[in-house]
C-alpha cells in the first residue's frame, strides 16, 4: 500500500520532501549517537530485512494472500527511528533500483509507512505491553497498517481540492476524501488484524530462536 508516481501534486510532494529530509537528518543523528562504527552494516542489514518482510505473505482466508508490511516487527524490535530509516531506504531502493513505487511519492510514503507506521506500532507496544504482551504486539501490527492507510487516504483525498484547473477538474488523484477514506480504511482495518497476528507470531518465534542460541 504505497502511492505510485503521478498521483500526487507538486504542492504535496515537495513540502513532504522538505519535511522528510529534516526527519531523515534527525534519524541519522539519533542512529549515530546510539550505535558505534558498525552502524552502517547494521542499518544495511535492517534495511534488507525490511525489504524481505514486505515480501512475506500475509495469508487471507480462502488461500489467497497479500504482502505483509513488517513495520511493527521492525519498530518493536529495533526502535521507531531505525524502522523509519530502514523503510525509507527500502522505498528508495524499490523506486530507483526495481522501478516499483514512486520517486515523487517517496517522501509521503516514507513519512506515512516508515515514520507514522513505526510510531503507531511503537506507541501501541509501549502502552499495551504492561497489560498483555501478545495483545500489545497484535495492536502494534494493526496500528502499523491502519495509521499509514489513514494518512495515505487523506493525502490522496485532498488532491482534487489542492490541484485542479480553473473549471474544477482534478489534475492528479481524482477522488475526494469521501471515497479514499472508506476505500483504504475498511480493507486495511481488516488486513491490520492479519498483520497483528504475524507480528505476534513472528516475535514469539524470534524469542524462541534467541533462547536456542543462548542455550
Amino acid at each position: 500500500m504505497h502511492i505510485p508516481d503521478g498521483f500526487l501534486s507538486p504542492q504535496t510532494y515537495l513540502p513532504a520532501y522538505a519535511l522528510a529530509a529534516g526527519l531523515w537528518w534527525v534519524a541519522a543523528r539519533r542512529l549515530r549517537s546510539q550505535l558505534d562504527a558498525e552502524r552502517l552494516p547494521w542499518l544495511a542489514a535492517v534495511t534488507a530485512l525490511a525489504f524481505v518482510l514486505m515480501m512475506l505473505a500475509l495469508p487471507l482466508p480462502g488461500g489467497s494472500s497479500v504482502h505483509a508490511a513488517g513495520i511493527a516487527l521492525l519498530a518493536v524490535n529495533f526502535g521507531i527511528w531505525t524502522s523509519f530509516m530502514a523503510v525509507s531506504l527500502v522505498l528508495a531502493m524499490q523506486a530507483l533500483l526495481f522501478g516499483v513505487g514512486g520517486v515523487t511519492a517517496l517522501a509521503v510514503n516514507a513519512l506515512a509507512l516508515g515514520l507514522a507506521g513505526s510510531a503507531a506500532a511503537g506507541l501501541a507496544w509501549r502502552i499495551f505491553q504492561p497489560i498483555h504482551a501478545g495483545l500489545a504486539l497484535i495492536l502494534a501490527g494493526w496500528a502499523s497498517v491502519v495509521v499509514p492507510a489513514a494518512i495515505i487516504a487523506v493525502v490522496l483525498g485532498i488532491q482534487p481540492v489542492i490541484a485542479h484547473d480553473p473549471t474544477g477538474r482534478p489534475l492528479f488523484f481524482p477522488f475526494g476524501l469521501s471515497v479514499t477514506l472508506p476505500a483504504l480504511l475498511i480493507p486495511h482495518a481488516l488486513l491490520g488484524l492479519g498483520e497483528g497476528l504475524l507480528t505476534w507470531l513472528g516475535t514469539l518465534t524470534l524469542e524462541r530462536l534467541r533462547l536456542r542460541h543462548v542455550a
Binding site: D5, G6, F7, L14, M55, V103, L197
Partner: protein, 184 residues
Amino acid sequence: MKRDRLLLVLYLAALVAVTLVHDPLALALGLLGLLLLAGRSAPRLLHRSLRVILVFNLAVSLGYALLAHLRGFSPWETLLLLNLRVLFLTLLTFLFISRVNLFSALDFSPTLSWLLALAYSQALSFQRAHADFRLALASRCLERPRLIDRYRASAAAAAWFMDRALATARDSALALRARGFFDA
C-alpha cells in the same frame, strides 16, 4: 560532473517538470520522445511500465469513469491526463534504471554508496531465501495448508530473516573492519 550523476540530476528534474505539465498533448509528445530515446529497448520498457501501472491505474480509471457516469460529467480529459502522466513517469524511471548505474551516481557520498550496496546485496540474497521458504512450504504440503499454518510459516520466515539480518550485520562489520573501512 560524472555522467551517471548528471543523469540522476536530470532524471530528478524531469520528474518534477513532468508533474508541472497538465496538457495531454504535450505529455503524449514527451512520451513519444522517451520511446525514441529508449531506441530498441522501447517495446520492453513500455511493456514493463504498463505491467507495473496496470492494476492501480485501471482501478482508479474505472472507478472515476463510473463516478462520472453516475454524476453526469465527462471523465475522459482527466483520465487521459492522469494515465499519460503516470505512464510517462514510469517509463522515464525504467529508462533511467536501464541506462544509469545508481551506485556510481551516488558515489559523492561513500557512506550512502556503501549503505546502498550492502543493503541491496543483502536484499537480493534475502529475496532468494524468501523464494526458497515459499517453495519449501509448497513442497511439504500435500493439501492446501490451513490459515493458521500459513501464518506460522510467514512468522517463522520473518523470525529467521530477523535473526539472519543481525548475524549478517555482525559479519559485515567484521569484514569491513578487517579491510580498514572504519579507519578512514
